[in-house]
Symmetry: C2
Subunit: 216 residues, 2 copies
C-alpha cells in the first residue's frame, strides 16, 4: 500500500470509529463513514468490504497499540499483582473510548461462531497475543507459580479479563465505579488464589482445575 492509500485507509477507520462512538454501530452506514472521511462511498468499500471489516481493523489497531506498550508496562514491576493490573488497565484504557461500539458488538460477540467474536476462529491471532501478555506477566514475576499451572494460567487470566470487560459494558454506575471495585476485589482474589495454589494442600484441587481446563 502506498503512503497515500495508507493515510486514506486510516482516515476512513478513524471516521468509522468516531461515528460508531457518536451514533452507535447499528445506526452507522458505510455511506455515513465515507462522507465523514471525505471520500466517495465506493472508495470506502475499496478499503473495507463492510462495517464488520472496520471492526476487525479496530481489533488489529488495538493489538498493534498494545504490542507497543504492554510489555513495557508489565516490566515496571516484578510483583505479579501489579503486572496483571498493568495488562488489565491498558485494556480498559484502550476500550474506554469505544464503549458504545463494544456494547453493540457484545450481542454478536458472545457467539463464538461470529467472525467478530473474541472467542472465534477469525480473532485467534489477537486472542493469542492477548493471552501471551498474561504469560509474560506471570513468567517473570516474583510469585512462584506451580509448573503444571504455568501453561494454562494465562488463558484463564484472559477469560477473567473478558469477564471484567463484559461486566464493564453493562455497568451503569457513575464512571463505571462498580467495575473498578470488582477489578480491585477480584484481582486481589486471583493473586491470592495463585499464591495458595502452591501449597501442598491445594495440589489435588489444582490438578482438578487443570483437568477441567484441558478437557475443554
Amino acid at each position: 500500500m502506498t503512503p497515500k492509500a495508507e493515510e486514506t485507509r486510516e482516515r476512513i477507520l478513524d471516521a468509522a470509529l468516531a461515528l460508531f462512538r457518536e451514533q452507535g454501530f447499528d445506526d452507522t452506514t458505510m455511506r455515513d463513514i465515507a462522507e465523514k472521511a471525505d471520500v466517495a462511498t465506493g472508495a470506502a468499500y475499496y478499503y473495507f468490504r463492510s462495517k464488520e471489516d472496520l471492526v476487525m481493523a479496530f481489533y488489529v489497531r488495538a493489538a498493534d497499540e498494545a504490542r507497543d506498550v504492554v510489555p513495557e508496562l508489565i516490566g515496571q514491576s516484578r510483583d505479579l499483582k501489579k503486572r496483571l493490573r498493568a495488562v488489565i488497565d491498558q485494556k480498559f484504557e484502550q476500550f474506554g473510548d469505544h464503549r458504545k461500539l463494544l456494547i453493540a458488538l457484545v450481542r454478536i460477540g458472545i457467539d463464538p461462531k461470529h467472525p467478530l467474536s473474541p472467542f472465534g476462529r477469525e480473532t485467534e491471532p489477537m486472542r493469542s497475543e492477548s493471552i501471551d501478555f498474561f504469560r509474560l506477566a506471570v513468567d517473570e514475576s516474583s510469585t512462584k507459580v506451580p509448573k503444571d499451572l504455568r501453561a494454562d494460567l494465562p488463558r484463564l487470566l484472559w477469560l477473567y479479563q473478558m469477564g471484567l470487560v463484559l461486566f464493564w459494558l453493562f455497568d451503569d454506575s457513575p464512571g463505571q465505579r462498580k467495575t473498578k471495585l470488582l477489578t480491585d476485589g477480584t484481582l486481589d482474589l486471583v493473586f491470592r488464589l495463585i499464591q495458595l495454589s502452591s501449597l501442598p494442600l491445594m495440589s489435588p484441587l489444582r490438578k482438578r482445575v487443570l483437568a477441567v481446563v484441558r478437557a475443554m
Copy 2:
C-alpha cells in the same frame, strides 16, 4: 380466566414454543403462531401482546414446573454435590427442548436492561425462586458451610449455573458432550471449594470473596 380461555392461552403458548423450536425466534411471527394454534391473529394478540410476552410466559411456565419438582429432587439426598446436581440437571432437562429459542434469546438476554434478560428487573421473581432452590440445596445438606457464606452462596451458585447454561448454548460438540464434562468437572470443584472454605486457613480468602460479592 375461564377454563376455556386458559386452554386457548396454553394452546397459543405451545404453538409458539413449537415454532420457535422449529424455525427459530426471529423468523416466527405472531401470525404464524395464531395459525398454528388455530386462532385468529387478533385472538393471539388478545392473550399475548408480543413474542416477548410469549417468552415471558415460557419463563413463568418453566418456573411453575420447577416449583413442582425441584424441592423433591433436592430432598432425595443429603449430599451437597448431589443436591446441587439435582437443581442443575432439572434446568438442563427443562431447557433441552428449547435450545434454539434460548440461543436466539442469549443475544438480548446478556443485556440486563432488556426485559427478557435473566439478570434484569422484570425477571426478578423467577430469579429469586431459582436462587432459593440453591439455598434449599445448601441449607439442609450434610456439608458444613461457614455461616457468613450461607447468605451469598446461593446467588453465586446461580451465577455458576448461568455460566454453564451459556456454555451449553454455544456447545457444538455431539450431544453437547463438552457441557457434560464441564458440569461434572466444575461441580466437583465447586463442592471442594465449599468444603475448603471452612478451613481456618481459608477464612481471609472467604471474607474477601464475600466483600467483593456484597460490594456488587
